[in-house]
Point group: C2
Chain length 233, copies 2
C-alpha cells in the first residue's frame, strides 16, 4: 500500500512516537523536536506522556529547536492524530499496543524500531518472533499501514545528549513499500549527523533488530555508545 504521508514533505508531518517514555522513544522525540519537527509523544499513561512531553519540549527549545513542538498523549490518541508513527515500545508491549491501533494507523507510515531481546548469563540475546521480526509482527497487526523497520541501531545514549550537536550513525531502513521507506529515510535525515540508508525488504528488519544486540555487546566491551555507518554509499 501507499500511504498519504509518504507523499508529503517529511518536515510537514506530525510525527507520533509510541513508547515515548523509553530511552529510544524519548531520544528520538527530543532530537526530532530540536530539529524543528512537530512531535506527539505517546505513552500508555496519558498524564505521564504530557509531563514528559513538556520536559522534552523544554530541552529541545533550550537547544534551539524553535519551530518544533512536543505534545503528549495516550498512545491510541497519538496514533490517531499523527501523520507518521514511530513505534518504540518495549517488545513485551508491542503486540498489545499495536493490536488495538489498526484502524487509527490505517493509511499511515509506521516505523517500527522495536528490538525483541531477552537477557541471560551471556548477556542480551535476540528473542524469536513468530512473524520473523518485531517489524513483521507490526505489519501483520496493521494490514492497512505501510510498515518499515528502522532506528534499531541508533546509539540511544548519544541521542539523549544534546551537548553532542550531531549523532554519528546511519539509520538502516528495511521495508517493502518504497514510498514509506523513502519517508523513513528522509525522517532519519532530519536528525543532525544521521542519514537514512535503504537496507532491503521488510524481512531484513530481523537483521537490523539483531544488530542492536551486536551493538549492545560492542557498548559493553568498549564502554561506547556505538552506531553504524555504511561505507561506499
Amino acid at each position: 500500500m501507499t500511504s498519504a504521508a509518504a507523499d508529503r514533505p517529511v518536515d510537514d508531518l506530525l510525527v507520533g512516537v509510541l513508547g515515548g517514555a523509553g530511552p529510544l522513544g524519548r531520544g528520538l522525540a527530543l532530537r526530532l523536536a530540536a530539529a524543528g519537527q512537530r512531535v506527539l509523544l505517546g505513552d500508555a499513561d496519558a498524564e505521564r506522556a504530557r509531563a514528559l512531553a513538556a520536559e522534552v519540549a523544554g530541552l529541545a527549545s533550550a537547544a534551539g529547536g524553535g519551530e518544533g513542538s512536543v505534545q503528549g498523549g495516550a498512545d491510541a490518541d497519538v496514533a490517531g492524530a499523527a501523520d507518521l508513527v514511530v513505534v518504540a515500545v518495549p517488545f513485551a508491549e508491542h503486540a498489545g499496543t499495536l493490536g488495538g491501533l489498526a484502524e487509527a494507523l490505517a493509511g499511515k507510515v509506521v516505523v517500527d524500531a522495536v528490538v525483541p531481546v531477552g537477557t541471560d548469563d551471556l548477556g542480551t540475546y535476540l528473542v524469536d518472533v513468530e512473524e520473523g521480526s518485531a517489524a513483521q509482527q507490526a505489519a501483520a497487526l496493521l494490514p492497512d499501514s505501510a510498515v518499515v523497520g528502522a532506528f534499531h541501531t541508533v546509539p540511544v545514549a548519544a541521542l539523549a545528549d544534546l551537548a553532542r550537536p550531531t549523532v554519528d550513525a546511519d539509520v538502516l531502513v528495511a521495508g517493502d513499500d518504497a514510498a514509506a521507506a523513502a519517508t523513513a529515510q528522509a525522517l532519519a535525515g532530519r536528525l543532525p549527523g544521521m542519514r537514512g540508508v535503504y537496507a532491503g525488504p521488510l524481512r531484513n528488519a530481523r537483521h537490523l533488530e539483531a544488530m542492536a544486540v551486536v551493538l549492545g555487546s560492542v557498548d559493553e566491551r568498549y564502554g561506547a555508545a556505538a552506531g553504524l555507518r555504511v561505507t561506499d554509499v
Copy 2:
C-alpha cells in the same frame, strides 16, 4: 579452549584460507599477502589451488607485498599446515569440508566467514542453520578448535581491487574464546584501512552473517560495495 596460535604475534602466523577460490577467500588471501602475511590458499582441488595461489602471489607482489607469500594446496593439507585458518567456502560445502578436519584443526584458531544464504523472488535471504549460525556449526564440528565468526561484512569487490590502497570497513568478530577473538581482530588489522572490533559471544555470529545479507541489499540499491564502520569505538 585457548589455542597456541592465539599466543603468537599475528604477523608470524601462517594463515590458511579454505575456499580460497571464492571471491571472499581469494580477496582475503590477496590482501593478506599484499600486507606481508604468509598465506596458504586452499581448495577442494589441489591443482586449482596451486594455480590460483601463483596468480594471487603475483598480484600481491606487484602491489608491493614483498614479504608475504602464497602457496596453494588441498583444503585438508592447508588445514594441517596452517597456524590459523579462515573458512570461506560456500555454505553448501561448509559442513562437508569441516567435518573431516577436526583433527587437523585441533588447537588452532578457526575464523569462520561463511554466510548461509539462499535466493528467491525478493533477493537473497539468510538460511536457517540448526546450530544457530555457520560459525556455531563450525564450533560443533571442531570441538578442539577456537572458533570465531568474522569477515562476513567485508566488501568483497573492494577487497579484490588493489587499486584501492585501503578498504573502508571494520571487521566485526564474534567469539567465546577471548584470545582467539583478539587474534582475529589483529589479523583484520593487518588489512589496510580495516580494523577488528569485538562484537560479542559466538552466538552473535548469526547476526554478523545476517548483516552480509543486508549489505547485499544495500549494494543492489546503491550500486555499491558497502561495508560497515562502528562509530564511537
